[in-house]
């Protein structure tokens, strides 16, 4: 069993590492500590570079013009791309592009023309509207937004919360209940234009994350054409569920990248920082924090790569993705916390990225399914029929 990276992976990862170090970090030093976007000219110049590297649009399938890279390598890249201050929620400030909503690759040709291709060209943005005040991790039960058919249209009433980027989007995926008594088989996914009458961004929801804020949406007698159903009527649950599993792997990888960077910074700092006449690195208390960091990072890294490997092979990866998400978010939270402790007073200043990582990392144990839901998924998989 060979756990080492291939020469190609080493080179690709090395390239991204250099890009973060030489292109992202120096620019970031001139931005507000909470920034989530680069000035447009800077971003355009960097997109030219990622295109020349052949890495633009990492998660776009090859047949749509994306690079031909397997999921394990993409996961390794994601662990590099987040190694800067804004890295958790704005890895490399979007200069590697992205597929946007992966669900649209399954759309009809007409839907692709209207939504997918403009998104890949960077002309449109979409949001993913699943979570409601009643919950997000259990779409079969939580979705209360109703859609009722009226001829060639559906009338949607209800609302969503914690939806990222809806105020900057031209369209979004909205999950609504189309058959009230059918549970998971009664949910449908609609593509909704944000200029549809009845669509409203009710408010910005302020959270620990000062950038990439969330929004609350309301839908009042919002009429959506039947042709805007993504997939089939009453088959929205699978779309939501697949996204929840798949999204956990890059989500874990982003956390690990931040942990790696924080740990690296601490390793460099403690031999130089003197207290009571000796470097911090000579204190056992500090040494053990570093050891625990190293172990936390390694276990999270292998679990995440294992999940990516299984998904790449086409094997069932639901449990593995849940374990990766659970361990990576909790491990990275501990690592950032310890590094902050080692940096002392400086650790909590905005001169260093720890305080932003610390705030944003707290969200990661809740976003994309909280730790408890991940444990629930794993338990259900372990016990199977024995769960009753």
């Amino acid at each position: 069993m060979d756990l080492s990276l291939t020469e190609e992976q080493e080179l690709i990862v090395g390239n991204v590492r250099r890009f973060v170090r030489e292109e992202i970090v120096p620019r970031e030093l001139n931005l507000d500590p909470d920034a989530d976007e680069l000035p447009p000219d800077d971003k355009a110049a960097l997109v030219d570079k990622t295109r020349a590297m052949g890495l633009y649009g990492l998660d776009i399938p090859v047949e749509y013009g994306g690079p031909d890279i397997d999921l394990v390598t993409r996961t390794l890249i994601a662990m590099e791309m987040s190694q800067h201050r804004a890295g958790l929620y704005a890895p490399c400030y979007g200069t590697f592009g992205g597929a946007g909503l992966a669900q649209l690759f399954e759309a009809t040709e007409a839907q692709k023309e209207k939504y997918l291709y403009p998104t890949l060209r960077g002309e449109k943005r979409g949001f993913f509207g699943l979570t409601e005040p009643s919950g997000g991790s259990d779409p079969a039960r939580a979705i209360q937004t109703r859609a009722v058919r009226d001829g060639g249209e559906w009338i949607i009433n209800g609302g969503k919360i914690f939806i990222s980027g809806a105020d900057r989007a031209q369209y979004g995926l909205v999950f609504a209940r189309t058959s009230p008594d059918k549970g998971r088989n009664g949910v449908t996914c609609f593509i909704v234009d944000t200029d549809t009458p009845g669509f409203k961004v009710q408010r910005v929801v302020h959270t620990l994350r000062s950038a990439h804020y969330a929004t609350e949406l309301t839908f009042t007698d919002m009429r959506v054409p039947h042709a805007n159903i993504l997939g089939a009527e009453n088959r929205g649950f699978a779309i939501a569920n697949d996204r929840l599993s798949r999204q956990r792997i890059p989500y874990a990888a982003g956390c690990i990248g931040v942990a790696i960077k924080a740990h690296e910074m601490a390793l460099e700092y403690v031999p130089d920082r003197e207290t009571f006449g000796a470097p911090l690195s000579t204190r056992q208390a500090v040494q053990w924090m570093l050891v625990d960091n190293e172990i936390d990072i390694r276990q999270a890294r292998w679990l995440t790569l294992d999940a990516a490997h299984r998904a790449q092979q086409g094997l069932d990866f639901r449990k593995e993705a849940a374990m990766a998400k659970l361990v990576a978010t909790e491990a990275a939270s501990r690592v950032v916390d310890r590094c902050m402790q080692m940096f002392g007073g400086y650790g909590v200043t905005k001169d260093f990225p720890f305080e932003r990582w610390y705030r944003e990392m707290r969200i990661r144990r809740i976003g994309e399914g909280p730790s408890e839901v991940q444990r629930h998924i794993i338990a259900r998989d372990l016990l199977g029929a024995g769960l009753r």
Partner: protein, 250 residues
């Protein structure tokens, strides 16, 4: 025109190096290694010459341990056509490397050999010049611009207070300065192709050279630590300290 580019494996320029406690050298344990930045500039220049149609083949070569293959693969991904490693367990020094490369040049017959002007670990800035002396090739060091003419090169060098332009006959040796070019990122397609490109491993014995070091390192010391500064209250106090403590004015 065949172009040979010798490259060196060194500590990554971004690593904060520490001297070993016994002062025998720099601690390389768990340290990331990379292509010496000046050598990367040399590879970039060679690849650009090839893209411009001036060069027909770019060959990267390194003298060192087996793990130098990692850096040679990087060079292949950046656009070199093939690579050669002269593998040795001894830590080679400039003269030994220059001799090995001179023996290799006899076989390869490259018309242009581009070196980095120095490596960021040894800082010797000798190998290119020694190689030129051993092979009798013309040389232009510390190049900031290279133009290929008919059977000759025009090389611009940054010197104190200005620029110097040399015209040298081919075959020639050029060593690169920092501002010659900005090395590219290897592209994904080229990274994928790199593995299929040939990388030959030969021994110093194959070239008939002896790499035994001729210079012994006695001690490696970190630079003296900078002392904390002070804030003075008045100009008089400053002048007094400059005169009597720092003794930099009289």
């Amino acid at each position: 025109m065949k172009v040979l580019v010798p490259v060196k494996r060194v500590v990554d320029a971004n690593v904060k190096v520490r001297v070993k406690p016994d002062n025998s050298g720099v601690d390389l344990n768990n340290v990331k290694m990379a292509v010496n930045p000046f050598c990367e500039i040399a590879i970039e220049e060679a690849v650009r010459l090839k893209e411009a149609g001036s060069a027909s083949e770019v060959i990267a070569v390194s003298v060192g341990a087996g793990n130098c293959q990692e850096q040679l693969r990087t060079c292949l991904a950046l656009g070199a056509d093939r690579a050669i490693l002269v593998e040795t367990d001894v830590d080679p020094q400039p003269l030994g490397i220059a001799k090995a490369l001179a023996a290799l040049q006899e076989k390869e017959g490259a018309e242009l050999v581009i070196f980095g002007k120095q490596s960021i670990d040894g800082d010797n800035a000798q190998t290119g010049q020694m190689f030129a002396a051993l092979t009798g090739m013309s040389q232009a060091t510390f190049a900031s611009e290279v133009k290929v003419g008919d059977g000759k090169l025009e090389v611009t060098r940054e010197i104190d207070g200005g620029l110097q332009t040399l015209s040298i006959k081919l075959p020639a040796v050029v060593t690169t300065d920092l501002r010659l070019n900005e090395p590219r990122y290897a592209s994904l397609p080229n990274i994928m192709k790199a593995k299929k490109k040939p990388l030959d491993v030969i021994s110093p014995a194959d070239l008939g050279v002896d790499l035994t070091p001729t210079v012994e390192v006695l001690s490696v010391e970190p630079p003296a630590e900078r002392e904390a500064g002070i804030i003075v209250e008045t100009v008089e106090e400053l002048v007094d300290k400059l005169k009597n403590e720092a003794k930099v004015i009289s």
